[in-house]
Symmetry: C2
Subunit: 228 residues, 2 copies
């Protein structure tokens, strides 16, 4: 995973090796450490999602996690490292969802599974999803390597599938990238614009039933829109 990350200045990062997150731990206290890192990551996710990387402050994150700021810096040496750890979690989830594209040889099934997984991801991890979107909007300073390697390869491979489906007369002659951009945008929307949706829903967030209806409609629209 770490190979996807580089520090914002492009130079070597103290996190280039996973171990480096913790200060040379010979006898780490796993329970304490795990709980503190969890609380800090959860707080960081909230603050980064609300304020963006630049607007978030380590003081606000520490306050929300209920620890002194110095303790935050004990577990995550810099704000950058903490942010990186948060982004890393989303990346893992992103890759898991991506795998669901490959469960079927039928484009309708593959697309439905993938769109459904991405919708569920946006629903289950709205804060992390928003951070992911914000990271991409800002030009992906933290995940450029992921874009250049894993994502490029993933898209290229799926483009091949799409071309095969087109040749088999199962899909219209579409550009696979445009299709993926549409899927990514539409599914992310359910995390990014949750507040806007709530406003247009009479001030209440989408309940589970409404979300499931939306998921079905999104799947149906895209699938029907691209199948021949």
């Amino acid at each position: 995973m770490d190979q996807f990350f580089r520090s914002r200045d492009g130079g070597a990062s103290p996190l280039d090796s996973a171990r480096a997150v913790r200060p040379a731990a010979r006898k780490a206290r796993p329970a304490i450490r795990a709980e503190n890192e969890r609380a800090l990551l959860e707080a960081a996710e909230q603050v980064f999602a609300e304020e963006g990387f630049g607007g978030a402050t380590t003081a606000a994150i520490a306050r929300r996690a209920g620890v002194p700021k110095a303790n935050l810096h004990y577990y995550f040496v810099t704000k950058d490292a903490l942010y990186r750890a948060v982004v890393e979690r989303v990346l893992t989830a992103w890759l898991a969802a991506a795998a669901s594209f490959d469960g079927s040889d039928d484009p309708r099934e593959a697309l439905a599974a993938y769109i459904g997984a991405k919708m569920d991801l946006a629903r289950a991890m709205p804060l992390a999803s928003r951070i992911w979107s914000a990271e991409i909007m800002r030009g992906a300073p933290m995940i450029q390597d992921f874009l250049d390697t894993t994502l490029t390869d993933w898209v290229a491979a799926r483009e091949t599938s799409v071309r095969r489906w087109i040749a088999a007369g199962k899909l219209k002659p579409i550009d696979a990238k445009v299709l993926f951009y549409m899927i990514w945008a539409t599914t992310q929307q359910y995390a990014n614009a949750a507040h806007e949706m709530a406003t247009l829903n009479g001030g209440r967030p989408l309940d589970d039933a409404a979300f499931e209806r939306a998921k079905r409609q999104v799947i149906a629209t895209i699938v029907d829109g691209v199948t021949a």
Copy 2:
């Protein structure tokens, strides 16, 4: 327009009256003022788009505009007011694009016109579009009134059109809101994720021809996906 805006603390804003932007101007020098405000807004758009509201600094904006920071504060009393002015520009453009939905009684034509207009907006004003998305992602602290009033009304009215089209058998039985979320997300994507798209395009931004192809495919997918 000003009725859409409220200050971040919800209290009265010095910008609630348009005139208040400038310090009691009896004999403003229009040429100088217009040029300075233009340069500052352009610089602000770049910096806000790159860094987000929280990450942007007035010093960086002033530097990019080529004026001393104190001069920035002469034209825009606070960072908040400058941000508000930037958002106001996008709102105007958003409303103009929205109008293109109403040019036809046929859903295929109305949707094609609206999606095309939103695509063109994302292409023509990518920075402003990104700021708009970021604003919505952050819970719309600046445009809540717009969401509550104009947008709510706009969506409600178009939902009526959609229902009529469904009853006439021209559209599948869809939820109009879900359709609009999809349109907003997909079109915004061409501003928000321009960098990601460039990476997947071999490092080069989409050229005009590729963009026009994408526009056609987006329109075709959505229209074919929702028409009966």
